[in-house]
């Protein structure tokens, strides 16, 4: 399940809905990404996430389907915000429920690495020197590459 939205979200509510009445689930691994006050260009007052409506949802659905194909998961969720966000606000939630905790950890990390390199979002940071578009990081490419199918 995926959602792209401007509004804030509550990770606990999202995860409770994900688990639902499924009493087979032994563990939920989740990642919550937060806006940091420090970026590469210095302190930031806020950032704006631009996305590509349509493609973004489609790509998120595809990666969730891939995670579900690779690992034995009971449930899988990505909620990603767009628009203007201030330091401390939640940007994204990736949550994976499985009866196998190794699968849940691997799948959640896969989703997060993937988000960094393939999800059509672009970050505009408002720093002391004005607004600037964030450039990609080589380490994120490397993190995503470790999931390439052999």
């Amino acid at each position: 399940m995926i959602r792209v939205q401007r509004a804030a979200f509550d990770p606990a509510e999202e995860i409770a809905a994900l688990v639902g009445a499924n009493r087979r689930i032994g563990g939920v691994v989740s990642f919550v990404g937060l806006v940091r006050e420090m970026a590469e260009g210095g302190a930031i007052a806020a950032m704006t996430l631009e996305h590509y409506p349509g493609m973004t949802e489609r790509q998120l659905e595809a990666v969730v389907a891939e995670a579900e194909a690779r690992w034995p998961l009971d449930a899988c969720l990505i909620v990603h915000r767009y628009g203007r966000l201030e330091p401390g606000e939640r940007i994204v939630l990736a949550a994976v429920a499985s009866s196998h905790r190794d699968a849940a950890f691997d799948a959640c990390r896969f989703l997060v690495d993937w988000l960094k390199t393939k999800a059509p979002f672009w970050k505009l940071e408002e720093g002391p020197a004005g607004a600037r578009w964030v450039a990609e990081k080589a380490e994120d490419q490397a993190a995503a590459a470790r999931w390439a199918q052999k």
Binding site: R36, L49, Y52, M55, V92, K116, P120
Partner: protein, 85 residues
């Protein structure tokens, strides 16, 4: 063809979206980008740094050799910098 621009490509092009009529000679992504650069200084500025321009055709990532056709939706954008940490 509908062409969309995101992030700093949009700023440089000066708009988010345009409708263009594709010349018959333009059949793949590489040819499309080469042609777009000739259209205006804004197009040229947006596409000046070719290695960092990412392309999606009909909302799927595309490579230089992938085909394009008049009815396609093509999006041009820099590498993504999604909202994780």
């Amino acid at each position: 063809m509908k062409v969309l621009y995101f992030a700093w490509l949009k700023t440089r092009r000066g708009l988010a979206e345009e409708e263009l009529t594709l010349p018959a000679a333009v059949t793949n992504v590489a040819e499309l980008l080469a042609w777009l650069r000739t259209l205006s200084p804004g197009h040229a500025a947006a596409l000046a740094d070719r290695p960092v321009v990412r392309v999606a055709v009909n909302q799927e990532y595309a490579r230089a050799e992938d085909k394009v056709a008049p009815g396609d939706e093509v999006a041009l954008f820099p590498p993504v910098t999604g909202g994780v940490g």
